[in-house]
């Protein structure tokens, strides 16, 4: 244990301010030495290599030996030194480079037409031969994009009251990617602090062009409108599109009424319920409700939670059909969509060459591992108990290898995460093999179908 204390001491000396305070600035034991141990014993480099090879690392005649070597990686080193267009020919090169350079962050880019390290050789002649050719379809959902609809935290923080919004996003998107778009191999990863990433790995997804990615992001885009628009969701039309309707009935409605309404106390104070009233396009209704609630200083004898009762009142007024006002029809849904529907970072999904953090990285600010999340189990995922770097190192130190064949991660909290990843991986590789066997080249045009 003293060894650990020394490490922490060394760090503190660099920063004069903190020399007399216990480590506040350095998050739970994140240090380069710990990272070195992590990359040496725990980081699942081989699994990641197998994932990103998509079956090309085998002996099958259809294997493309150059495939993995054309994938771009980027490392962020200490002091924000950033190395781009890195590539590795095989797992040994990758592992040794990671262990040697000990990057604080590893990003994964696209597979290019040629080895990115040799891109300059191909840049001649203006005929752009160096271009991305495959890349997973990715999504990035960040809790700070929900700051206007959560009151428990803001900015970088997350807690168990607002985290359910991530679960909503995971469920809505996962369902749609499978049901609507027909994708099967989807990896969800905790981003390490306040959000989740999604990697869609089907061949068909990897071959999508920028325009198609942008269209998919747009399909998921419901919360629109900038600063000057109090109403960000507009659900026009006599009925909802099946995708929106399904999301609403299977995920959003319950999540709002049973979770967010209560955990965020959406009607408990005037500034909070005013925000909701602003969404109602009819001023008379909004002011009618405002009066009712403003005057309600002493809550009634009813034991019912004030948020629940006020929500019921609002729904009743909007759905009673008494007021024949345009735009009221979908108002209840619009409120629910505003407060729960997934908010993606559109830019991340639109471009093939966008770099995204690799799973199993350590978040430098929280020390937490970017672990996979099982979408079928996401309600049980707790971001506050995700293993941290120091926790894992401690677990390693405190226990012994139980058998020769045992891997180091098996006796740490990382075990479950790696198992989730491996189950995703085996299904994926099985389908890659099938694809190679049948030798069906699904072109992006899919004109042969």
């Amino acid at each position: 244990m003293s060894k650990d204390e020394n490490l922490v001491e060394d760090e503190m000396q660099i920063d004069q301010h903190d020399s007399d305070r216990p480590q506040k600035n350095v998050p739970d034991g994140f240090s380069e030495d710990y990272l070195k141990v992590y990359y040496g014993k725990l980081f699942p480099c081989v699994d990641i290599y197998r994932w990103l090879s998509y079956g090309n690392d085998g002996k099958h005649p259809a294997c493309d030996q150059s495939y993995f070597g054309r994938r771009e990686f980027s490392f962020t080193l200490e002091n924000d030194i950033y190395l781009r267009f890195l590539s590795f020919n095989n797992v040994v090169e990758m592992e040794s480079s990671i262990r040697k350079k000990c990057p604080f962050k590893i990003d994964i880019g696209p597979v290019y037409t040629v080895d990115p390290a040799k891109r300059r050789a191909y840049a001649q002649g203006g005929n752009n031969v160096f271009s991305p050719i495959e890349r997973e379809l990715v999504f990035d959902i960040d809790m700070s994009d929900y700051d206007d609809v959560r009151y428990c935290c803001s900015g970088a923080d997350v807690c168990l009251d607002c985290w359910p919004l991530m679960n909503v996003a995971i469920k809505v998107l996962d369902m749609s990617l499978r049901e609507d778009f027909g994708f099967n191999h989807i990896l969800w990863v905790y981003s390490g602090r306040r959000g989740v990433h999604c990697w869609v790995c089907d061949g068909r997804a990897r071959r999508l062009r920028d325009e198609q990615r942008a269209s998919i992001a747009e399909y998921f885009h419901v919360n629109k409108g900038g600063e000057n628009n109090a109403k960000k969701v507009n659900l026009t039309g006599a009925v909802l599109h099946p995708f929106l309707a399904r999301s609403y009935t299977e995920v959003l409605k319950d999540s709002f009424e049973k979770k967010m309404l209560l955990s965020q106390k959406l009607f408990a104070s005037e500034d909070r319920f005013q925000k909701i009233l602003q969404i109602i396009p009819d001023d008379s209704i909004a002011s009618e409700l405002l009066d009712k609630w403003q005057g309600n200083r002493r809550s009634s004898i009813s034991k019912e939670d004030v948020n629940v009762s006020r929500w019921e009142q609002l729904k009743h007024v909007l759905q009673s059909g008494k007021h024949k006002v345009q735009g009221l029809r979908r108002c209840v849904e619009e409120i629910i969509f505003t407060y729960t529907f997934p908010r993606l970072d559109m830019e991340v999904s639109k471009h093939m060459n966008h770099l995204l953090k690799a799973p199993f990285c350590v978040h430098p600010k929280t020390g937490r591992i970017c672990v996979p999340i099982d979408p079928n189990d996401c309600d049980d995922f707790d971001p506050t108990t995700v293993p941290t770097l120091s926790q894992l190192i401690e677990e390693l130190n405190m226990s012994n290898k139980r058998s020769e064949s045992e891997e180091d991660w098996e006796r740490t909290s990382l075990r479950k995460s790696i198992e989730i990843f491996r189950s995703f991986l085996s299904a994926l590789l099985k389908s890659c093999k099938k694809e190679m066997n049948s030798n069906v080249r699904q072109s992006t045009d899919a004109r042969n179908w």
């Binding site: 609507d180 942008a214 269209s215 039309g237 006599a238 045009d445 899919a446 004109r447 179908w449």
Partner: protein, 431 residues
């Protein structure tokens, strides 16, 4: 270029001949043509296209279609010509595609190797409810015989991005009318590529051997046609400074009248307005010397005093002379067509553009009333404006003011002016 001769075929022709009727331009055609035929076909085709352009501006569709395929190699690098050609050809294609029977449409789509497959009755039944939902969600309810096609979602990004189609397991269910849009987009992109390829062939090989024969015809076609472009005004339409006021109120279209009035009122116009009005006046027959006098006298009250004669000559006069092709690369600029005027983007302080598009309803009503259009006509005009039929609105204005029908439809401000002068002169002569 392979020119297919016009064939008078009975309308119930077999599906196999449909590919001869509707070419999809999947590849650039081989070049083989008789010169005389080429010119005939080219003129014919352009007439058809111009007819569409006129017809569309008048709200009508042409009755008869010639079965000609002509690729204009567009050797003059006029982007506007190419864009116009592509738009018109696409409209023509869309119109003709719609005229085909459903079976013929389906076979055309498979012949062109478009990746849309019609869905079976059985499959339709399984997704009917969802298709209905989508249709209602976008305000386009289905009727009993709406046909549906299935395509991989990658093929229809614009449709699913806007949630205008039902998606299931990677396939999009596309309604017939949506397909026509997609087919037309594909047609346009194929045709555009063809133009590029043919142009390349033209500039790299044909030019040398055929220069003496084809080049003059192509040049003449592209600059001489599209209807007159008013770059060489007829003598009879020459306007003098003393006439300008009178003719402004009687014969200028609203866009130019507005600019003219603003110029008189504020003694200044920003660049966009100077270009639009200045070139129009050139087309109307204002000579360069008169133009210089005109602008100088207008600007003298304000700008001239601020910038002084020397700077005026340097900047403003220079640009007037530039418009007349007397400076710089000596291009004789052509007055703007309606298309160009409508597509301008006036911003703060600007008065150019098309009032039917860029004015608020109130302002437009006031302007039309000022022009002498009666209340009922104004309502009719505003109705067209709401439906974005700006040129039809202008045509209706013309008809209201001159109390005479104008079937051709307005495509060009100078056309409005010429037509107006003609009517007024006839009236004068008959009295």
């Amino acid at each position: 270029m392979e020119i297919v001769r016009s064939q008078r075929e009975p309308t119930h022709s077999a599906a196999s001949t449909t590919s001869a009727k509707l070419s999809f331009y999947r590849s650039a055609p081989a070049l083989e043509v008789r010169l005389e035929d080429f010119e005939l076909y080219a003129i014919d085709r352009l007439r058809v296209l111009q007819g569409i352009s006129d017809g569309l501006s008048r709200g009508k569709k042409p009755e008869e279609m010639e079965k000609l395929v002509l690729l204009l190699s567009t050797s003059p690098p006029r982007d506007e010509l190419r864009k116009w050609f592509l738009s018109m050809e696409t409209s023509l294609f869309r119109y003709r595609f719609r005229l085909e029977s459903p079976e013929s449409q389906r076979s055309l789509m498979s012949e062109f190797q478009l990746p849309y497959k019609a869905i079976s009755r059985a499959e339709f039944e399984t997704v009917k409810e969802k298709l209905n939902q989508v249709a209602r969600s976008i305000g386009q309810p289905l009727n009993a015989d709406t046909l549906f096609f299935k395509a991989p979602f990658e093929e229809v990004p614009e449709l699913f991005a806007g949630r205008r189609v039902f998606l299931q397991k990677g396939f999009a269910y596309v309604a017939m009318h949506q397909v026509v849009s997609l087919v037309a987009t594909q047609f346009r992109s194929n045709l555009s590529k063809c133009l590029v390829l043919t142009n390349r062939k033209w500039t790299s090989t044909i030019r040398d051997t055929e220069r003496d024969r084809l080049a003059p015809i192509i040049e003449a076609l592209s600059t001489g046609y599209l209807g007159p472009d008013y770059s060489q005004p007829k003598n009879s339409a020459e306007i003098s400074l003393k006439d300008i006021n009178g003719q402004a109120s009687s014969s200028f279209p609203l866009c130019m009248r507005h600019l003219f009035d603003k110029l008189r009122e504020t003694h200044h116009l920003k660049h966009g307005g100077r270009m639009q009005l200045g070139l129009f006046l050139k087309g109307v027959g204002l000579r360069l010397e008169d133009a210089l006098l005109f602008w100088k006298s207008e600007f003298s009250q304000k700008v001239l005093q601020i910038v002084g004669a020397e700077r005026f000559d340097k900047e403003y006069a220079y640009s007037i002379r530039h418009n007349y092709g007397k400076e710089g690369k000596r291009t004789d600029y052509t007055p703007y067509s309606c298309q160009k005027v409508i597509s301008s983007t006036p911003s703060t302080g600007d008065h150019h553009g098309c009032p039917y598009r860029h004015f608020s309803e109130e302002n437009l009503r006031a302007a039309l009333t000022k022009m002498g259009v009666c209340g009922r006509s104004v309502d009719g005009i505003l109705d067209k404006v709401r439906n974005k039929h700006y040129q039809i609105a202008c045509t209706l204005t013309f008809e209201a003011i001159h109390d005479a029908p104008y079937d051709s439809g307005i495509n060009h401000p100078n056309q409005y002016f010429d037509a107006s002068r003609k009517i007024l002169q006839n009236k004068m002569e008959s009295t």
